[in-house]
């Protein structure tokens, strides 16, 4: 199923193929994500959801196909350039949070700015502001091990948003949280992303979460089977 590019999408994949040995994780996927759009990617285990997310984010290189960010091809960039792209343009929220355990909450949030060469004082001030917006103003000096699952995930959201990325990738962001905390966390992510104009791509098994998003893309056996946009 091919989607012609009518208006330029923020993120696009064309004919994406990813193999692990003889297995096809992606068997020729086309997908567009518009600027500011929140999209859920759903499908059974092993269907290729996470592989699609990783390929679009430049974490994995596709075996075939192309990935575009704002019209610029990014799948052929070197690892260093892809890292710099992730640093500037992408934010990540994963199920496990993937915070650096040795850093405080504010240092974790400041990390992308610091790695990009930003000034320490500016990065930490910005981090404290983001933590405040996500209701974590009193947790700036705590380390991840001292936070609850929901608090750590909100720190990860603050980190993902702190450098105002164009796209936020979230892989099962509520998988380790109870229902209420998960809903609160996702509300915080989606509201803040809307404020910054970031596109959000969420891989989830949570049907309720997927239904709450304006667009759902279903994937099975490495192929997109449906792509519903809310009216």
């Amino acid at each position: 199923m091919t989607h012609p590019l009518t208006a330029q999408p923020m993120l696009a994949g064309r004919g994406l193929i990813k193999r692990y040995g003889t297995e096809h994780a992606l068997a020729g996927v086309d997908i567009d994500v518009a600027a500011g759009e929140a999209t859920a990617i759903v499908g059974p285990s092993g269907s290729g959801k996470t592989s699609l997310l990783h390929v679009l984010a430049g974490i994995l290189a596709p075996d075939a196909g192309q990935v575009f960010l704002a019209g610029q091809r990014i799948d052929q960039l070197s690892e260093t350039k892809r890292s710099q792209l992730r640093q500037r343009e992408f934010g990540f929220v994963f199920q496990s949070g993937l915070l650096v355990d040795e850093l405080t909450a504010e240092e974790n949030v400041a990390l992308p700015t610091l790695l990009g060469g930003g000034r320490k004082a500016d990065a930490l001030r910005g981090a404290r502001e983001w933590l405040g917006r996500l209701g974590l103003g009193g947790f700036a000096s705590r380390r991840p091990g001292e936070l609850s699952g929901g608090e750590a995930q909100r720190v990860a959201i603050a980190r993902a948003l702190s450098h105002r990325p164009k796209v936020i990738f979230a892989d099962e962001p509520t998988g380790a949280l109870d229902t209420k905390t998960g809903r609160d966390t996702m509300d915080a992510l989606l509201v803040t992303a809307r404020e910054t104009g970031a596109a959000v791509l969420i891989v989830t098994h949570d049907r309720e979460l997927a239904d709450s998003l304006p667009r759902i893309v279903s994937i099975r056996d490495g192929l997109i089977t449906s792509g519903v946009r809310a009216a």
Binding site: G21, T80, S83, V100
Partner: protein, 556 residues
């Protein structure tokens, strides 16, 4: 936050990382101390040889410059060797130059003794020892004139007419330059390979102790946008802190280890602690190179997470090791054998050490294949779940499974190989001795040689021994600056039969010089041992050396 600040933060907070860093630091400290000691050994023997060079220098470069007459002899007391140098100043010549440690040139009936010999004489009856060195003690030979603190040396002043016919004229008792001992240089190289390769693998394994947590941290950094070089810097900073501290500790441990090593005898004598001091540049090189290798090993050990964020691809099974890995063993063996043959002909050690390193590395190439094969056997023959699980784990990632035990495997492999090879190297080297181990030899006055040979052969025949005694001439070979030593004169057949020197292929019926050490580039002169006219060896005199020998100045 720079990589070092992050590393310090991690070390302060994470106990497991701290434990791993301490283990790494201790490993580096021990490796640095041992490598420093090993590397210092050839320099120590050189230092010792240079101190005692005046005891060996029995020929003058220019007869016109000679100002003393010297005669060296060896004596023994309770099995200990005593070096006796008889000296007589030549009349009408300027005062001879003296090397450090000799306060004055003893005149007739004066004697200078080394402290150990002086003490030995005091502790024993005159008739047993003291009478051998009659004369007035006019001083003590200092440490700078002795190869070891316990060396037994007497410098005895004599009237010129008393000295034996074998006495030679010399220009003073000045010191001479000694070369680094080739055999020790080889053994040092072998020791470093044997020590360093397993150490590095063990350190890389130690860094895996905290791999899970570190990989998680690095994955988080990668997702936050850290480039591969930023992540490498982070790993390098963490390891550098531990390895750098270890290297400093290792250099500090060098002092006590050198002091202890000075009690270990080599070539019959102990050492002065200062003998093991390394040149500053070399100590600095070791202090930098070992941590650098450790950092490299740590970075290579984590390349999966460094170059693949989240280790995403690694969740899938890797390819099985290919059978071509088995070729590594014969290739390494051929290179090593070629290196040994090359060393025998040319004395070059580079190929031997390269071959040795290849043999050690071949174990790492073949190891994963063997691990995978064992895993396959377990999977086919399992009877209990534990065996099946072990087999699957070995089969799924044989490289990682082998890495876990590679340090121990390599340590045992290289250690046993080195122990086996040491005796071969030693027998190949011949040290300063040109004769084969099976040859018994002694030096006698030329005029008595034939009679001694006749009596010896009579006795051998009487006791039914097949061995036979014979004579070999002895001459002095020397360079224009006076360096040199005695050499034996043999025909080709006798040389092949009696010596270690590789004369078989190159000896022809014409004069040639074969040496167990590199011959000096300068032209050589030959003179009878009992004194006489000195003749320059003609340019183009054929000669060859057999490698792995000792320094120029011994027997040739």
């Amino acid at each position: 936050m720079n990589p070092f600040q992050l590393a310090m933060r991690v070390l302060r907070i994470d106990r497991r990382t701290r434990t791993s860093a301490i283990l790494t630091g201790l490993g580096v400290a021990v490796a640095t101390a041992l490598v420093s000691l090993l590397v210092s050994l050839p320099f120590a023997t050189q230092e010792r040889a240079e101190r005692s060079a005046w005891q060996q220098r029995m020929s003058s470069g220019d007869p016109g410059q000679a100002n003393v007459l010297l005669a060296k002899s060896l004596d023994y007391f309770n099995g200990a060797e005593i070096t006796k140098i008889d000296v007589a100043a030549l009349p009408g010549k300027p005062r001879p130059a003296l090397p450090p440690g000799i306060p004055r040139l003893p005149g007739p009936n004066e004697v200078l003794l080394s402290p150990a010999l002086s003490a030995l004489i005091k502790d024993n009856p005159e008739a047993r020892l003291g009478d051998r060195f009659p004369g007035l003690g006019v001083g003590t030979l200092g440490e700078d004139a002795l190869s070891a603190p316990d060396q037994l040396v007497a410098l005895v002043g004599q009237h010129r007419g008393v000295l034996p016919a074998t006495a030679v004229e010399s220009s003073g008792l000045t010191a001479a330059h000694a070369d680094v001992d080739d055999l020790l240089a080889l053994l040092t190289g072998v020791g470093i390979v044997v020590l360093l390769v397993p150490s590095l693998v063990l350190v890389a394994s130690a860094s895996r102790l905290t791999a899970a947590r570190r990989e998680r941290r690095l994955a988080a950094l990668r997702l936050a946008g850290a480039t591969p070089s930023q992540v490498v810097n982070s790993v390098a900073a963490e390891t550098t802190l531990a390895a750098g501290a270890g290297a400093l500790l290792g250099m500090a441990l060098g002092w006590p280890s050198h002091a202890l090593a000075s009690y270990v005898p080599w070539d019959g004598w102990t050492w002065q602690p200062g003998d093991f001091a390394l040149p500053g540049w070399l100590a600095l090189l070791i202090a930098i190179a070992i941590p650098a290798l450790v950092v490299l090993a740590a970075v290579l050990g984590l390349r999966r997470v460094v170059f693949a964020p989240l280790g995403a691809a690694a969740a899938h099974r890797g390819k099985l090791p290919k059978v071509w890995r088995l070729l590594a063993i014969p290739i390494a063996a051929v290179v090593f054998a070629y290196g040994l043959a090359e060393a025998e002909e040319t004395g070059s050690l580079a190929m031997v050490l390269g071959g040795l390193a290849l043999v050690v590395l071949s174990a790492s190439v073949v190891g994963p294949l063997v691990t995978s094969a064992i895993g396959g056997l377990f999977v086919r023959a399992w009877r209990k779940p534990a065996m099946l699980l072990a087999g699957r784990r070995l089969r799924d990632d044989p490289k990682a499974a082998y890495r876990a035990s590679a340090g121990v495997v390599l340590a045992v492999f290289t250690g046993s190989m080195a122990l086996t090879l040491m005796s071969s190297f030693e027998s190949m080297s011949g040290s300063t001795e040109p004769y084969r181990d099976s040859v018994l030899h002694t030096s006698v006055e030329g005029g008595q040689a034939k009679e001694i040979v006749r009596r010896t052969n009579d006795k051998l025949a009487r006791y039914g021994q097949p061995a036979e005694a014979g004579t070999a001439g002895e001459v002095l070979l020397s360079t224009s600056d006076g360096a040199g030593g005695s050499a034996v004169v043999l025909d080709c057949a006798s040389a092949a039969l009696l010596t270690r020197l590789a004369t078989a292929r190159s000896c022809a019926q014409q004069p040639g010089v074969w040496s167990s050490v590199p011959l000096p580039g300068r032209s050589l002169t030959v003179e009878p041992i009992a004194g006489g006219e000195r003749t320059a060896l003609p340019a183009g005199t054929p000669g060859a050396r057999r490698g792995l020998g000792s320094r120029w100045g011994g027997h040739h």
